[in-house]
């Protein structure tokens, strides 16, 4: 199965996931190829790779989403493997097929599996056949609003409109009653068209205040498919995951076995290979329903790695090279929590906050893992998803993991751009979060009630401000110099000089 040339892997992505996959390559002794847009020439993922090829200008459509540019980069550097990461082309069956046709080993599932699971309606049908419990829903995209209303009568409101070709909360609309169907359908399909280039939308029964629990599955090309525990992903803002945990605080061994069995059945239904995630809605009565399958490595895979002791990125590469799964029976140990650090401003509705990171201090010590795609001085471009990286903490149990998260957040500093760090510090003060008592709408409800207020300075902070003011020489000069040092304009002049 392995091609003659020495394995060299191109990551068709950027930021922290590119670095994550490069680290797995280095552990396996595989050479790495980075790709970059003009906005990312000086980004950490380029500096970390053995090879690097420019894709095009900043816009994703002309760089990270350009299949032609990616395949040309693979050809130029004689890459033998290509890994899509997550987002961008990660769940694009066409891209997977194009890679295979170009003689590359696609590190991920087969195009067929991506296709099957890519369409919400097709995947639900496969799940129905495989006996995996699914949320009552339309099996084909809605032709018009009346079709949705008909379904609503049968399954009962509220309903949820979802983009057939999408995921991650985009193109979703809640429908409380029949009168809302028309407007909701229009909005949902236009958003779906925007994000996924496919306006098809379908309706399904909405389960109120469910938890989002997903199961990690791994399949090799020798027919072995295993489940590697679940992840709790209910803390979401507008359907976007904010904090993920492993294990889920409400899943015991029996429920874990049932969830895992369903997840493996789901994967087997599409002969799934590589890493994937089967997402379920878990109701309070421990009934669960198939939501969707992500045919990619998830952002939150590290919490599974910390608890189950596996390297999922390396596993994907081994599988792509034709090797059987590298692990036998696995035992979970301890509890892990991940915070997604976005360059978004919690005080301005989480608006993106691009700019230059003037100082970056990462936490370290026991139980702390940093998967971060930026460095001090990095410019956060406006063109892409604003995730800077992830903080992952691990401890023998959930209370210790929460205490370590509080400690790690106290060591974390990102200046120059606004981030979601203050939101995590705030969440740790909320009893419901500490008790793990939340559902997928919990964070949106609490944010609407004003969970996140900008703090007022306390006496100690005022004292620091006064001391700083009294010695501007020290504080501001280093600040001014660093800012001048790191200012894009100054670096531009240097780059200009060096081009």
């Amino acid at each position: 199965m392995t091609s003659a040339r020495p394995p060299r892997l191109l990551v068709a992505n950027r930021g922290e996931i590119a670095l994550r996959i490069f680290r797995a390559c280095r552990d396996l002794g595989i050479e790495t190829v980075a790709v970059f847009s003009d906005a990312d020439r000086s980004a950490p993922h380029v500096a970390a790779a053995d090879y690097a090829v420019r894709l095009g200008p900043a816009p994703a459509s002309e760089s990270y989403l350009s299949v032609l540019a990616l395949l040309a980069a693979a050809k130029k550097t004689s890459a033998t493997l290509i890994h899509p990461g997550y987002g961008f082309l990660a769940e694009n069956a066409g891209f997977a097929r194009a890679c295979v046709d170009a003689g590359l080993i696609f590190v991920g599932p087969t195009p067929e599996a991506i296709d099957a699971m890519g369409s919400k309606t097709v995947s639900r049908e496969r799940m129905r056949e495989a006996g995996v419990p699914i949320v009552p829903g339309m099996t084909t995209p809605a032709k018009d609003a009346s079709e949705i209303a008909g379904f609503g009568k049968r399954a009962g409101y509220p309903l949820l409109l979802k983009a057939s070709a999408g995921g991650g909360g985009k193109g979703m609309r809640r429908v409380e009653n029949e009168s809302e169907t028309a407007a909701a359908l229009a909005r949902a399909s236009s958003e779906a068209k925007l994000y996924f280039g496919d306006g098809a939308v379908y309706a399904e029964k909405l389960i109120d205040r469910p938890r989002h629990v997903e199961v990690q599955v791994v399949g090799d090309r020798h027919g072995r498919i295993v489940a590697v525990g679940e992840r709790e992903c209910s803390v979401q803002r507008r359907h976007q995951k904010v904090i993920e945990e492993c294990p889920s605080p409400v899943v015991g061994p029996a429920l874990r076995a049932r969830l895992s069995e369903a997840a493996v059945a789901a994967a087997r239904a599409v002969e799934y290979t590589s890493c994937g995630t089967v997402e379920f809605l878990l109701a309070s009565d421990e009934s669960f329903y198939f939501l969707e399958m992500n045919t990619r490595l998830q952002v939150e895979h590290p919490v599974t790695e910390e608890v189950w002791g596996v390297d999922l990125a390396a596993e994907m590469i081994r599988i792509a090279l034709g090797e059987p799964l590298s692990f036998g029976e696995l035992e979970p140990r301890g509890h892990a929590i991940e915070c997604r650090i976005y360059a978004e401003d919690p005080r301005r509705g989480f608006a993106p906050s691009p700019g230059t990171i003037t100082s970056l201090r990462l936490p370290s010590g026991p139980g702390v893992r940093n998967d971060v795609g930026v460095e001090s001085g990095s410019v956060v471009p406006i063109d892409y998803d604003p995730m800077l990286g992830k903080l992952i903490v691990h401890g023998p149990d959930r209370p210790t993991a929460l205490a370590r998260l509080k400690r790690a957040l106290s060591e974390y500093e990102i200046s120059g751009v606004e981030t979601t760090l203050p939101l995590f510090r705030r969440l740790l003060e909320i009893p419901e979060f500490a008790a793990g008592d939340f559902d997928v709408q919990w964070l949106d409800r609490r944010l609407a009630e004003g969970l996140f207020q900008e703090r007022l300075p306390d006496d100690q902070e005022i004292l620091l401000a006064a001391a700083g003011a009294a010695s501007p020489r020290a504080a501001s000069r280093t600040e001014a110099r660093r800012a001048e040092d790191a200012s894009p304009w100054r670096r531009e002049s240097r780059r200009e000089l060096l081009r």
Partner: protein
């Protein structure tokens, strides 16, 4: 060298407060706020943060930077970043410091228009880094203009009482 007193205006939700900071190059800073006096020794950490030691042994550490969004400063500590609206604090205090031509001494110029209150530097003096060279009054605030490094006073280009424009040379120091 005598102690310097600086008055800062602190804008809090309950209105403005005066904060009096008295600093002497050798001793600690004393900060007075609504009658309470706190004595603090300050150390600059390599990465630009400040570490304060209070008399009761408490240690505070944080980064103080101009608030890009508004007036006042952004204080970043273990608890995260918070805006502290200290008005007219940093704005005056900055006197641009130019490295002298051979990169060892420095030329100190006024960044703000103001009036020279007192001149401490005398040509030929040896000064340590941080020594107060002169007192410049701008916008009703006393501002200590200090040397950033040790050296010998070259030219003292201003005298007490003289009004100065932005950019004018105040003092030059050779290594």
């Amino acid at each position: 060298m005598s102690a310097r007193r600086i008055r800062l205006r602190l804008d809090t939700r309950r209105g403005t407060e005066d904060v009096l900071v008295t600093s002497s190059p050798a001793g600690p800073l004393t900060v007075e706020r609504s009658g309470k006096r706190v004595s603090v020794t300050v150390a600059a950490l390599p990465d630009g943060r400040l570490s304060l030691l209070l008399e009761d042994g408490r240690q505070l550490c944080g980064r103080i930077a101009k608030d890009p969004a508004g007036r006042g400063v952004l204080v970043t500590t273990r608890a995260g970043a918070v805006r502290v609206a200290i008005e007219d604090a940093l704005a005056h205090r900055l006197a641009a410091v130019a490295d002298a031509d051979d990169g060892t001494g420095e030329e100190v110029h006024a960044l703000m228009p103001g009036r020279v209150l007192e001149v401490l530097a005398r040509e030929g003096d040896e000064v340590i880094g941080g020594a107060v060279l002169l007192i410049l009054e701008a916008m009703k605030m006393q501002n200590e203009i200090r040397a950033t490094r040790a050296g010998r006073i070259g030219r003292v280009a201003v005298e007490p009482g003289q009004a100065v424009e932005r950019g004018v040379l105040l003092v030059s120091i050779t290594a």
